[in-house]
Symmetry: C2
Subunit: 138 residues, 2 copies
Amino acid sequence: MATTKKRSECPISCSLDVWGDKWSLLIIRDLMLSKQCTYGDFLKSEEKIATNILAARLLMLEENSIISKLNHPDSKAKVLYKLTQKGIDLLPLMIEINLWADKYSTLPAERKAIVEEIKKDKEGFIKTQTKELKKVIL
Amino acid sequence: MATTKKRSECPISCSLDVWGDKWSLLIIRDLMLSKQCTYGDFLKSEEKIATNILAARLLMLEENSIISKLNHPDSKAKVLYKLTQKGIDLLPLMIEINLWADKYSTLPAERKAIVEEIKKDKEGFIKTQTKELKKVIL
DNA sequence: TATTTGTACTTGCAAAACGCAAGCAAATTT
DNA sequence: AAATTTGCTTGCGTTTTGCAAGTACAAATA
C-alpha cells in the first residue's frame, strides 16, 4: 500500500503527504496539458521518470482519488489515466506555480504563451480549462 | 552544495527542483505564519523535522534566494530566518494549497478560520499578508 | 571566573526511497 | 505463429532520509 501516515493535521502537510514529491505534480501537469495519458505517454515526458517510480506514483494518486483509470477506446492493452474532479481542482495551484516560475525565471516559449494568457484573465482561464478537463470525466 | 541539476526547462519541474520535497513548504509555511523563525522554532513544529534535514533544506532555500538569515537582535547565538521577496511570492501558491485541502478534508479550527478569511477576499488577504511579511525584510 | 545551559548545527549509521536495467504477461500487429 | 507493444514488476546498487549522539560557540548561572 502506498498510503502513508499523516505527519500532522496541517493542510499544507497533509497535501504534501499526497503529492509533495518530485514527480506527482509532473504527472498531474501532463494530465492537465494532455487531458488523458497512457503509461507510455508519462514515460515520454522530458524529465524521464523511472518506470517503477511512475507505477508507484500513479497508484498513490489513484488511491488518493486525484486520478483514475479508464478503458482505452481502441485497445484493451492500453490504459488511459485522467484527472478526477479533485485532481482538476489542483489547477489553480498549478497556475500559481507557473506564475511564480515566470516571475523568477525564463520559461520556454510555449509555456510562456500559456502564462501570458493566464495573466490576462486568470479566472477565465481556470473556468475554460476546468470545463475542458471535465469533459474527459464523462 | 545543495544545488541540483535541472531535470527540464518546465516551470513546474524547475520549481519542484527547488521546493518540491516533503519539508521545504512546511518551512515556508512556518515563516508565513510567524514572519521570523529561529532554527529551534522550526524544530518545534508539529511535523518534527529531523535536524540534519532542516539544516539541508534551510541551506537549499537560502541558496535559491527564498529565505535569508538575519542577526537576532537579542543574541549572537541565535539566527533568524525570514522570507525574501521571492519567498513571499509563494503566498498565492500556499493559499491555493489551503483552499484545495479545505475542499477535500477537514481543517483544524485555527486554520479553517484563516481559510474562511481568504475565501471572503483572496486578493485583499494576499495584499495585507504580503505587506506584513515585507516589513520583516526591512 | 568556572560551569552549566541554550542554540545552531554536524556526524554516524541503519532504513527507506530512488534510479537504472532487465524481465514478464497479456494484448495487438504482422 | 511470431514479433512487437503496453503496462507494469523485480533486482540491485546508489542516494536520501531519519534518528541519536556529538560539537562549537554564545550566554546565563553559580
